[in-house]
Amino acid sequence: MTSRLFWIAVALAVWAVLPFVVPRNIADLLVFTGIYSIAGLGIGLLLGHCGIVNLAQATFYGLGAYASAYCTVMMGLPSAVGFVAGAVISMALAYVIGRPILRLTGYFLALGTLALSAIASALFFEWDWLTGGTLGIGGIPKLDLFGFVLDRPSRYYFFVWIVAFACMAVARNLVDSRTGLMLRAMRDSSTAAASLSIDLQGLRTRVFVVCALFGSLAGSLFAHHASFVSTQSFTVDRSISFLLIPVIGGATSIPGIVAGAVFVTFLPEFLSKLGDIHQILFGLALVAVVVMLPDGLMGAVGRIRAWHVARRGSDAG
């Protein structure tokens, strides 16, 4: 227990010092890691606890971003209004769309969510009166906390990560609760879960709504960080890279989500220094992780730890 506390303290210390010691572009990537962790957290809940592949997260990410952009730039409203508007619209859409499509299972459901992302991406492009189309909406103000402007990556970093930690705490609560219990039961055997009076459809829809809330929150945070939003940020590609976060990191583990977010933000950036082949290298790295670590990076950490404990046990015996 003390060693656990020790490591938490070390991690917190590293977290607090990090934005001041790294170059600005790395600090910027760390902000994105926090934003992507929030978006990935929702997908992780669906994937790890409901067995649902959600390829629509860029939709809710986009809704959050456009709501923040539109409310602050076009309407001159406080940024909090944008956050709330994005969250409400995303959750309402997730509920309305989720009810019918979450009747599907497996590949069909994954395709359904992919279709949602494709439609949303097309609408973001077409509805240029609202979204600015490819030109986007620029000049989104930096967040201002009681007069303290979060205008540098090192400042915004703390804000984003505190929001991310709060989302992680909420996700953890859900997993540990009665709802979490029912979710895992449903994932293992929906037939038996139904016989024990678990409302499969309702439960799936509600988790989908929570996932959309996280997506929208991440989108709003992104808009205030980038100051500019356009359709390119909310394509199906983005949905896929969001899905990769829990797949790579480990869907049931919160540190896994962060590890996955680090992977999808940092790796392409570093590989891009290698020139034209960077996308191929990223693809190879992805395949390597998925093939060699089927339960994600955190699953591998768990196995190494189990092996270590077993070895220590046999040494003692």
Partner: protein, 253 residues
């Protein structure tokens, strides 16, 4: 329908494709009784079970549960009303521990909203505590203590069967539907299962038992024999065993 029937099936008919799997099946399950359903493979026993528990909507006939029509209710609603089933192949939650499996059975006894669970309010925590206590007691009672923290995937067929029954019973059912509970069990385990059925029934749980195990069937007060979707004989086990049609179905004489 007699006043004390917990379940009444009336003229149930169903077909898959062109095959009539059930033809005007009518019988009552008296409150507090043990009713058995026997019949060879393919006689329609499991289809009938799926109809009662809500997995299939029959093409004809009606089912009443405690005097109220049942067929329009969802599986979940039937469960909340106290009608719980087990499955021919035990359906345990494999990646969850034995204890968690039992906890899932308790989940329907409490109500929290998702928001309460997300924010971990005192009410949500209190309900989780209640669920844990109930599950703890059930593990003790069904002698699952030693297996408590094992993943359900590692259990033997007999242990899975008991776990499935424990998980169903912890939710306080009124009518327990047991689908082939003795399949895959050894003689000792079947004996154990028999004891449980008698004990649970003595506590007031009505039981509808589907099996082709004639030995286990002796616990039933009334037995109905299904043959190609029709009830061909009804009565207590001794009567059934003497019935020439049942002898023909089972023994070919």
């Amino acid at each position: 329908m007699p006043a004390d029937a917990i379940l009444s099936l009336n003229e149930i008919g169903h077909r898959f494709g062109g095959l009539n799997v059930l033809r005007s099946v009518t019988f009552d399950v008296p409150e507090g009784g043990i009713v058995g359903l026997i019949g060879p493979n393919g006689s329609g026993k499991t289809t009938l079970f799926n109809i009662v528990s809500g997995y299939i909507r029959p093409l004809m006939g009606t089912v009443a549960y405690r005097g109220v029509p049942l067929l329009r209710d969802s599986i979940q609603k039937r469960g909340l009303a106290g009608l719980v089933r087990t499955f021919q192949t035990p359906q345990v939650f494999e990646q969850m521990t034995v204890f968690e499996n039992v906890m899932v059975g308790c989940a329907k006894l409490t109500r929290t909203t998702m928001l309460q669970d997300l924010l971990r309010t005192p009410a949500a925590r209190g309900q989780m505590r209640d669920i844990r206590e109930l599950a703890e007691a059930a593990c003790e009672r069904f002698h699952l203590k030693g297996l408590r923290d094992l993943p359900a995937a590692s259990l033997t067929a007999g242990q899975r069967r008991i776990l499935e029954i424990a998980r169903a019973v912890v939710g306080k059912p009124r009518l327990l539907l047991l689908d082939e509970p003795s399949s895959g069990l050894n003689a000792q385990e079947i004996e154990n299962l028999r004891d449980w059925i008698v004990r649970l029934n003595a506590e007031g749980i009505t039981i509808l038992l589907v099996s082709h195990d004639m030995g286990l069937m002796t616990v039933a007060h009334t037995v109905h024999t299904l043959y190609f979707g029709e009830i061909v004989a009804s009565g207590d086990m001794a009567t059934i065993q003497r019935d020439p049609r049942v002898r023909e179905v089972y023994l070919g004489v």
